[in-house]
């Protein structure tokens, strides 16, 4: 299955500065409707990578491909298949939203009638149906963000590139935006590349994550796989005589170590139900005070990848490998 985004030793220089320093990755699966999160501290090269994918910057070496087309030499084919929502305000202020969307749809290649129909349809979809005849210049910040999203999807692209889509949104609008992004991938089969500083947004929406630092990829992972792998990791606090608990856990096929009196970290195999822990505790006459699923949050993954922390708090110390894989 071909990847949505394929970057091979990509280097981009802006003036004398080399912003992207030979990055390589394969992201998403064409037609699968997956969301890819692009993270990194300020100046990491996220925007430059997006702009290189959009063909705005010519690579000094290497190449980038979207849906099998080279982003530079086959830019027209690439751009016909993508939608882009820029970070900053981008619109034509003295146009009504419906005229603006119609213009964008027609430039993307939709015939006149279809463009008008889709403009109305997508404005209702993003919640701007009632204000679609207002000039975009008069919109609030949240409405402008929605209008930007609408223009990115009006032509039904295969890949939507969203640069900080929740910037400046209040909590309700942010939820609405994230819901729309989820629907884009789950209901409409679009692939999404989401660049955001808000780790929770990426965690909520994305299936894969790429972390950039100083123009290099320091971490790339499948968030779904990470979630699954962490789901079987349990932290258990008990009251009572727990001397036999380790042996009891082995009986059901689980492994556990005592970190402190009454505090256990347990790894449950896939076929062991969480209920068996309750049964074991009852048999050993232990009172369960706390039982939590422990997992690495994206924040911890991010901080480790960019070198701000060396390990997950409470976890066994481990060296961050040179290639950044955790």
């Amino acid at each position: 299955m071909s990847p949505v985004i394929e970057v091979d030793s990509l280097r981009v220089k802006l003036g004398r500065r080399e912003i992207l320093q030979g990055i390589s990755c394969r992201l998403g699966i064409s037609g699968a409707g997956k969301a890819i999160g692009l993270l990194g501290p300020n100046g990491a090269g996220k925007s430059t990578l997006i702009q290189a994918l959009l063909g705005f910057h010519k690579p000094s070496a290497g190449r980038a491909r979207i849906l099998g087309f080279d982003c530079h030499s086959q830019a027209r084919e690439v751009k016909a298949r993508i939608g882009y929502m820029p970070e900053n305000d981008s619109f034509i202020g003295d146009m009504t939203a419906v005229a603006f969307l119609r213009l964008m749809a027609e430039i993307s290649g939709l015939p006149k009638a279809a463009a008008l129909e889709k403009a109305h349809e997508v404005l209702f979809h993003v919640g701007l149906g009632e204000s679609r005849y207002r000039q975009i210049g008069t919109y609030s910040l949240g409405m402008k963000q929605m209008a930007k999203l609408a223009q990115a999807i009006v032509h039904g692209p295969e890949l939507v590139i969203l640069d900080e889509p929740t910037n400046g949104l209040d909590p309700a609008a942010r939820q609405r935006m994230l819901q729309l992004i989820k629907e884009m991938k789950e209901q409409h089969g679009m692939n999404v590349l989401l660049c955001s500083h808000l780790l929770t947004d990426v965690e909520l929406v994305c299936d894969e994550v790429v972390i950039l630092k100083d123009g290099k990829i320091v971490h790339q992972s499948d968030l779904e796989a990470e979630r699954k792998s962490n789901r079987r990791f349990v932290q258990l606090d008990v009251n009572g005589d727990d001397r036999n608990l380790a042996a009891a856990l082995r009986e059901v096929g689980a492994e556990g170590i005592s970190e402190a009196p009454g505090q256990w970290r347990i790894v449950l195999p896939a076929d062991v139900e969480i209920g068996s822990l309750w049964r074991l505790a009852a048999r050993e006459r232990l009172q369960i005070r706390k039982l939590t699923h422990r997992k690495d949050t994206l924040e911890e993954i991010f901080l480790k990848a960019v070198g701000h922390i060396r390990q997950t708090p409470g976890a066994t110390p481990a060296e961050v490998p040179a290639h950044g894989r955790l």
Binding site: L14, G15, R16, R17, Q51, L54, G55, F56, H57, A75, R76, K79, A80, I82, G83, Y84, P86, N88, D89, S90, F91, I92, G93, D94, A99, L103, M104, A105, E106, I107, S108, G109, L110, P111, A114, E117, K118, H120, E121, V122, F124, H125, G129, Q151, I153, V154, H155, G156, I161, H188, G189, M190
Partner: protein
């Protein structure tokens, strides 16, 4: 089903051709432009001179209307290169004013609203964008230059007959090529001004000033160094000289000739195009 009930569905049907996409922006812009009263008034006013010239052509071809006048009047009424040269010079002023009114609103708003990334993230190159914007002005300016010019030529050919047409067909070609060269140059000046100056009024004034400043500078060089070659930098002079060459009129020997003027206009157009391309980028790079 009502659109608000239908919900969003991805568009999966056929796309229009590249040429059709190029015409989208001009179509939207003309729609908005022609809703401006000032542009409409200018368009109407610019038709007065062609109507007057049409009356002149009619008079020239109806000798029964001026039977009592002498031979000098007959010479005055001759429809030849001189007649079309005067028509073109007058009409070019209207075109320049129209370009200075309509041109500044073409690129400046896109730059001010940061709309270029939206265009360039679609199947539209920088060249396509410039061409689309040029088409807006070329279409508008043709309405006051090429269209009335060719109508006048056609009217004269229709009234004077086939012989006149076969002897003077080059006048029609000169009107078409001469005006085309002019409106391309004026459009490039207007677009470049729109790309570099944010305020519409200032950008419009810049378009007019560009022509007058160059003319003034050219005359100054001529006077200071007691030469004639600097006239080539006067766009008005250069354009008139090229037109005179096309209309088979006499050109003073001491002044720059047709080819020098044509080369200057070509170089100016190339420089303006380069300036435009330099300014129109999807993202501004701080080096």
């Amino acid at each position: 089903m009502a659109v608000y009930r239908r919900g969003y569905q991805r568009y999966n049907e056929g796309l229009t051709s590249h040429a059709a996409r190029l015409m989208v922006m001009p179509r939207f812009t003309w729609e908005r432009m022609l809703s401006q009263k000032f542009v409409l008034i200018l368009l109407v006013v610019s038709m007065f001179w062609p109507l007057l010239c049409a009356g002149f052509v009619y008079l020239a071809n109806h000798s029964e209307l001026w039977q009592g006048f002498d031979g000098g009047f007959k010479k005055f009424l001759a429809i030849n290169g001189n007649f079309f040269s005067i028509f073109m010079k007058a009409q070019s002023v209207y075109a320049l004013i129209l370009a200075s009114v309509a041109g500044p609103g073409l690129i400046a708003p896109d730059l001010a609203n940061n709309a270029l990334p939206l265009y360039f993230s679609r199947p539209l190159t920088r060249g396509d964008y410039i061409l689309s914007r040029m088409i807006v002005l070329l279409g508008l300016l043709s309405m006051v230059t090429i269209v009335p010019g060719l109508l006048l030529f056609g009217m004269q050919a229709g009234m004077a007959g086939g012989d006149w047409f076969w002897q003077n067909w080059y006048l029609g070609a000169a009107i078409l090529a001469g005006f085309a060269l002019y409106i391309v140059t004026v459009s490039l000046v207007a677009l470049t001004s729109s790309a570099y100056v944010k305020w519409r009024v200032v950008a419009g004034a810049m378009v007019l000033a560009f022509f007058f400043l160059l003319a003034g500078a050219a005359e100054m060089v001529n006077e200071v160094f007691r030469v004639e070659w600097a006239s080539v930098f006067n766009i008005g002079y250069a354009m008139n000289t090229v037109w005179a060459g096309m209309l088979d009129l006499e050109i003073p020997d001491e002044k720059p000739g047709v080819w020098e003027c044509a080369i200057f206009i070509g170089a100016l157009a190339a420089a303006l195009l380069a300036l435009l391309a330099r300014k129109l980028r999807a993202v501004e790079v701080v080096k």
